[in-house]
Symmetry: C4
């Protein structure tokens, strides 16, 4: 994929998720893999409102996570998490949203270490899942401002749960990815749907 | 109706329901009857995001559920359910949405086999209903990945409840239809409204 | 106001309220006073989706509630309620929305005959209200398919509560009005806001 | 900043917050600092729907809070609160939203005098905050129709909590500001996100 195509994808993704209220303030960050080996990512600039991205808000970074392209500015503070994910999974894109329901569920299930989800047809929107009887475990990691340490934990989690399609940072939000850009977008929508559904059921008097 | 007109309807329906959050990921599927006898449907392609449909995402299928038109690709995995509905009801369109509230209510009322709804003015938006005192029973079927078996159960349910305007698949979502495309769209909005209303009341401390 | 201007207002109002989810299906109906004496209203046609109104969906009716203009079709089934309101209040427009929260609150407070609201700054958006300490009483009438009888009850309610800015039909929705079209729109937004706020508080564990 | 640029900012902010449902009716008011010393603000006119602002709805006011520009009309009734904020903080813009969740949380935490928020990554969107472990205290002031008296209390509150990024008026809504217009918009989105998140958690059975 060219850098220009990757940037155009990220601009549109930002508009879509902003309309859903999943990237309030300047939260969220997104990347698309431009070159796989050695890795080069197109990634959102730090501190940008995602509904109003322009291609000048998209930076190119290499495996060290520093900007190597023509666009000035700092890449997302969480660039290392993106790099960790693309090194552990065959991902064409990594998307981090920061919705109210992903925040709430990461908190509610944080002490258990993950959110178990089973029995929903929507699970079939996750790559490779063929039945609603599938049990998805969405690991929850404690949030950490030391990004190098957090990246290491992310790597460990991805190895520990080789089949997981997403993870949550506690009181912080959702990370997911996909083998194509479209699949990554789909995974965000699927997991956000499932977390809101689980959350509303957890809050309901008929939950038990 | 021409196939082109049917496809244009489906594109607009997808945009509308996507804006409401009822077809997250690539969930949901829609069809419009192009020819009644022998039946031909315009139906959404499997795996497409419904807010971004183009006419190239609309396939033509016959009574066997296989593609018979010029557009390449696989028709929706649930095409047989659409065919079952149009054979049992005088439907011009069949619409399947996959909202959070229809998912929650299909789960909450699944063990009872259906959702009883009575007393709401909005019921009058269902074809043939003339008073809010009407009692609608929305059957809930257990979800099943064996679509032939599920289609048979759908046929049985439509015969058992000849007056029902919609049914739910458990933890999966809503199917409804209409004698015109407009009526089918209206039925989706009516039933989604009613399920959210019933759901919020069920969750409220004043429910009993 | 010319009929054409009135119709243009109604089209825009429909788009706005549809985006908020307050006129699902073909619910809701709106009118604007074209002539005060003898009264002539521009009113939405029965059975139209309010987000997609065109001026051909707007009819002109006289004091009998029957169509007297050039546009074919049936005026809203609730035209008599609109006429009752404009005869009892100095209204330039009457707007009926059918939201989830107005439906829920009309149900929850129906047995008490009204919803008491006090202490909210948003109350100052109601005409003539100058302090959040104002106590608004929003009467709730039992729903009735006999529109002539319901219109009589509406007239009685408006006389009994000469200061009320709106009323609810139980499990049916909100009616409000305004001395200008803009004021009527504002009243809808204010009352819908207040009903959702009251409803979420009623559902919360800290309500008491 | 020129007055024209300030007015253009305010128009766009109104559209954005209206789409989120945070400025229903004619609620909310916004200002941008045009000159710092002696202060001149571009501020929204009283009684305007914020989603439909035009530049003719933006007035220029001086330190007395009265209109000094060419646009006719009355500045927002809460102009003195804006002036109090810009005199106490290095603010380029002051934004007041009136959302359902800020109303609910101002009520729920009013008796405690403030909303404590800690542990959320989204807090890092507040200027100068570098860790989710930050504890933000959002003071809640009793609402008051005597704006001069309320302005004095606002001044006292800003001095008492020199590090606060926002405050709430009880059952009235949110005030926040920023060193740039973009920062003020970001602060609104961050605080609205946090208040809804805290509110949904407070309402959940797992809160304790």
């Amino acid at each position: 994929m060219t850098f220009a195509d990757a940037a155009a994808h990220l601009v549109r993704i930002g508009q879509r998720f902003d309309a859903r209220g999943w990237v309030m303030g300047t939260s969220g960050n997104f990347s698309v893999v431009v070159v796989q080996e050695p890795v080069r990512l197109a990634i959102t600039r730090s501190g940008t409102p995602k509904g109003e991205l322009t291609t000048s808000d998209i930076l190119e970074v290499g495996s060290e996570g520093t900007s190597i392209g023509a666009t000035p500015g700092m890449p997302s503070a969480e660039t290392r998490l993106h790099l960790e994910i693309v090194s552990a999974r065959p991902a064409a894109a990594v998307l981090h949203t920061h919705s109210i329901w992903s925040t709430l569920m990461s908190d509610r299930f944080g002490a258990r270490g993950g959110v178990p989800i089973q029995g929903y047809e929507m699970l079939k929107g996750l790559a490779g899942v063929t039945t609603h009887e599938h049990r998805e475990w969405i690991p929850v990691l404690e949030n950490d401002q030391d990004i190098a340490r957090l990246a290491m934990k992310v790597g460990n989690t991805l190895r520990e749960y080789p089949d997981c399609h997403a993870f949550l940072l506690r009181r912080h939000g959702l990370y997911t990815w996909g083998a194509t850009v479209q699949e990554a977008v789909r995974h965000v929508e699927i997991v956000e749907f499932l977390l809101e559904t689980v959350g509303r059921k957890e809050a309901a008097p008929w939950r038990s």
